[in-house]
């Protein structure tokens, strides 16, 4: 059997398989609870607890944030770790080992982006601080309004990427070097892990932990949620930035 024929057969089989699969899934979907009903099985004591008890217990008005950073914090810790290990994997894949000379790096750099383009520079000079501000805002208000570390971190990362694209790597690395990246990420994650470890340990062993809900509605409230949001934001932004930089040209310069 030649290759084309085999491919064809494979394609036909896959198509049939997926059609059957979709059919099954659709059939199954007809048997699922209907959308939007308050009587559905998923509207049980769990969301009720999150919404009703969450704000008072954690001090976070946003029940989603309360859930992901307090009740189901282990998931979220894992999630941050996913980001982290993804970045590590990207490093493993793309990091240029050995000492690529400065010139080559710059040359690669230039191939990808118009460095020192005046329009870009000027526009981004205005835009970037705003983006940073917005990111920080989203992060800091994660427990009060929609948002949180992940969204905030993503926005911060967008700011970094804008800056990088406008001013080039060399300029960016004036404040964001590889070493800084590593230290900040490690520190943020360590803090995250340590803090959560502490609360897990305390909580599970029934000990009194120091965190307090504070006064709900204030920025400085909700115990560890705010610091954790900040940590998450740092991790997310750093990770996205580093991934970008890796995919772009294989590593930090310094």
């Amino acid at each position: 059997m030649n290759k084309e024929k085999r491919d064809r057969i494979y394609a036909i089989l896959c198509t049939i398989l997926t059609i059957v699969f979709i059919g099954i899934m659709l059939f199954m979907a007809t048997g699922l609870p209907h959308l939007g009903l308050a009587t559905n099985p998923d509207i049980n004591e769990v969301p009720e607890f999150y919404v009703e008890e969450g704000p008072e217990e954690t001090g976070a008005l946003n029940a989603v944030t309360a859930m992901i950073l307090h009740y189901r914090a282990f998931d979220t810790l894992g999630e941050s770790c996913v980001l982290f290990v993804a970045a590590i994997s990207v490093f493993i894949l793309l990091r240029i080992d050995g000492e690529a000379s400065n010139e080559t790096v710059v040359a690669i750099d230039r191939r990808y982006e118009p460095v020192n383009d005046p329009i870009l520079s000027k526009t981004f000079l205005i835009l970037v601080p705003a983006v940073f501000m917005f990111g920080i805002y989203i992060t800091m208000n994660g427990h009060l309004s929609p948002g949180g570390g992940f969204s905030g971190g993503a926005i911060l990362a967008a700011g970094f990427l804008l800056y990088l694209n406008a001013y080039g790597l060399e300029n960016t690395e004036r404040f964001l070097t590889s070493k800084l990246y590593r230290r900040v990420t490690a520190l943020a994650l360590c803090f995250y892990a340590a803090a959560k470890g502490y609360t897990f340990y305390m909580g599970a062993n029934g000990l009194e932990s120091f965190e307090s809900a504070g006064i709900p509605g204030r920025i400085l409230s909700a115990g560890l949620i705010l610091p954790l949001n900040i940590c998450v934001a740092i991790v997310v932004s750093m990770t996205i930035y580093s991934m970008y930089i890796m995919i772009r040209k294989g590593g930090f310069n310094k």
Partner: protein
């Protein structure tokens, strides 16, 4: 039939999932495969998001004034939202890793076609022996 239109997101999610899956299986081009993966993941998010909503409710963010007398029936389910959030992050991470893999594979084999890559490897095998 009453619920058909209400349930539409569910069906859409299932169909999308199937489409994503078929792309993942059928597409030769690795980037297309990644797109398929994202479609698949997105369909799940769609499904979850649709599940989280309850008719006539708002997002589960209370105001400071309400504290102490919150009625959970007024708010939609926060759990799917959390799951979607996590799912998105995972999906993003995986996509990043996959993309960087594609970059490396392209450097190594100068092609994005997975079959061709396997073909090249088999040829190498034969040369080895």
């Amino acid at each position: 039939m009453t619920y058909f239109f209400a349930d539409l997101p569910e069906y859409a999610a299932m169909i999308l999932f199937g489409i994503g899956l078929s792309i993942l299986m059928l597409a030769k081009n690795l980037v297309k495969k990644i797109i398929g993966l994202n479609i698949m993941d997105t369909s799940v998010f769609l499904f979850l998001a649709a599940k989280g909503y309850v008719e006539g409710t708002v997002a589960p963010i209370v105001t400071a004034e309400e504290l102490g007398r919150i009625d959970s029936a007024l708010y939609s389910n926060p759990v799917p939202a959390g799951l979607v959030l996590t799912g998105i992050v995972v999906s993003v991470s995986v996509t990043a890793v996959l993309l960087s893999l594609v970059v490396r594979l392209n450097e190594e084999f100068h092609t994005l076609d997975i079959d061709e890559i396997i073909h090249i490897l088999r040829k190498r095998d034969r040369e080895d022996l």
